[in-house]
Symmetry: C2
Amino acid sequence: MALKTLVNRFKVLFFLFFVVRFHNSVQGRLLSSESKPHRNDAAAYARWLVSQNSWGVLNTISSELGGAPFGNVVSFSDGLPNEGSGIPYFYLTTLDPTASNALKDQRSSLTISEYPLGTCGKRDPENPACAKITLTGKLVVLDNKSEEAELAKSVLFSKHPEMKGWPKDHNFWFFKLEIEDIFMINWFGGPKPLTVDEYLHYKSNNLAFELLDTI
Amino acid sequence: MALKTLVNRFKVLFFLFFVVRFHNSVQGRLLSSESKPHRNDAAAYARWLVSQNSWGVLNTISSELGGAPFGNVVSFSDGLPNEGSGIPYFYLTTLDPTASNALKDQRSSLTISEYPLGTCGKRDPENPACAKITLTGKLVVLDNKSEEAELAKSVLFSKHPEMKGWPKDHNFWFFKLEIEDIFMINWFGGPKPLTVDEYLHYKSNNLAFELLDTI
């Protein structure tokens, strides 16, 4: 590596030291799927998993099927990648069982795998080192005239532009998952301890290291 | 195309006509993810989706989380691709909530998406033309000394070779999903009508056309 490059890197590091020191609440917007968080930083890892993925399986209780847990493939968004809030929003039609189940019984979970991101290497999808997360809580419909419905529309339509053209007469509604419990495995040794509060209020303070990856 | 090639193709077609005519119960072992079944052949499509995928989300009722539906990323196998039985088998540890939930309440579903197969083109994962299937039923543990446990081991370990090395002292058991209901969307217009019987007893009679794809 040329000396000039080294000096430039040092300057950047020095600058970033101050950026991070005085702005350590800055959201981690520079993570990429290549620079996933360290597995021991449970909140960062969970937020990265939710942010990077665009789809998962949304589970509800099916009254039609004797109260069975009913999983359904859905798209979701918590914001643009690395700009998310951690809260998953959905655009669901009541023509589908999931939305109509949730209107009767809000108990729900959203399950996401790291596997389709392609960052698990050659590991099996069930290998604990290939991360998975299940957010359990209440699936609630949003009032179409609320500010939060506008937010949901914005984060969903920016990540899933195709949704803009979905038929207006198909009874689509915006929903969100109000998270009450987090189950995440991203390494051996069982689920990572992680509270909903830690997850929702996560702010990256690793900006310097993340930025360095991009230099 | 050379005349010789054309003649050879004709010979193969002629031969296959008889193969198909007299052996139309032969399993469709030659489908590839590139030659997915026609969307109107619901049984073929469902079996292809289950056969081609190696992982999905397995949902159980969580007594620990107030009876919430709890989805979990798992690997499964119904046999080698295009050689499957349609019955999903699992290798689950009771250290994980899913297996222990199932031992208390067998109600379960397995949800699989076509999206990670890469055959949905540019469609959104929630677009009805990007297929999804949910098999609902009972998640039952197999007696380790039974013939079916041997079968489960064989179909799982051949598709997921890494499982052979998973720790023997981690209380892994073989499970299967006894399917009672099938929900599949693979195009616009709502779920495809498909009975469990049609699904389980599906036999491809399109061998000629499938073989032709490989010539």
